[in-house]
């Protein structure tokens, strides 16, 4: 090496420049060789398209996943609303059942209004039956005032023996 190329104050290891070419070629060879690893033919030519397809596929999956998430949210909200409704209904029913225990404290007028409004006895026949039933009860209570003699006479005059047997 010519003196003018040497830099004052700087030194290199012994035989550095003699082996430099060999070492550079080794490094180039090492990088070209990739440590013995190889790839299928045209692999890198097709890679761009494969990657883009995978990205498109991922986008599609993300969209589907977002739709599924929305549905899941709707389903959860619907379920929650149903649960709240159920709790409210059960709570109301529980309150209604408990109100029976306080029935004694209700005034007659309140009950009558309730029966009229809610109409437990919706048919006129039901109401008539109640009155009929009361008449019978009244008759029975009145019967306590009739003597045995009067009762026997009534039976002999009004009801035949065959009628009693038939009944």
């Amino acid at each position: 090496m010519k003196d003018k190329q040497q830099q004052p104050g700087f030194e290199v290891p012994d035989a550095y420049f003699e082996r430099l070419e060999e070492r550079v070629l080794m490094r180039v060879n090492r990088q070209d060789n990739q440590g013995g690893f190889k790839v299928p033919q045209d692999y890198f030519d097709q890679l761009d398209q494969q990657v883009m397809e995978r990205i498109e596929d991922q986008k599609l999956r993300t969209l589907k996943s977002q739709e599924r998430s929305k549905l899941r949210v709707l389903w959860n909200v619907g379920g929650l609303a149903a649960a709240v409704l159920l709790v409210l209904v059960i709570g109301k029913n529980f309150q209604y059942n408990n109100s029976d225990w306080q029935a004694d404290s209700l005034e007659d007028e309140t009950i009558a209004t309730y029966v009229e409004e809610v109409a437990i006895l919706q048919e006129e026949e039901d109401i008539e039956f109640l009155f009929t039933d009361n008449t019978i009860l009244n008759d029975i209570s009145m019967a306590e005032d009739i003597s045995d003699k009067e009762l026997l006479a009534y039976l002999e005059d009004e009801v035949s023996l065959t009628q009693i047997m038939r009944e």
Partner: protein, 196 residues
Amino acid sequence: MYIHGHNSFMDKQADSELVNLILDPATRDQGFRLLLTNYKEQLYWQIRKIVLQHDDADDVLQNVFVKIYKGIKNFKGDSKLSTWMYRIAYNESMTHLTKKARHLQISSQELQDHMVNQLEADVYFTSDQVNLELQKALSQLPDRQREVFNMRYFDDLMFKEVADVLGLTEGAVKSTYHIAAKKVEKFIRQDETFTN
């Protein structure tokens, strides 16, 4: 093709232009295709040195590019784009190996032995015995030492870049490389393939 390994203003500017191209919805796909063209081989070989099998490398590489596509908006430009992508590739490769070891129910070291043994029958690995023995030597190294050695020896990254990828100090990388190189040298000296 981008030449990696040496930081420069040109690299940073080119990175910045490329990233802006991808971030613009109108030129996103065009920009990403450019990134693919520029970096696919570099990233492939970095991944391949870690996972060893071509099919695994192909799968990991495609996942890496999907992550880059999705995450490029998070690239702040603090490091080189190649370093940022290398970090993603490294993490993805290591995650792949962890999953593979778990799937095969073997330890990390057993997986390395298993993968190196498979190389002998791999059609995408040269039949050169020297390269095979070198891979056997590397498989005996701890993960960190093997990675530092691969990045420095095969990929020709600077110590600073290796440190950025692995989140280490430059000093730690230098000493790790020194230890790894000594171990590989010792393995090679003991191996008949190299001594004959």
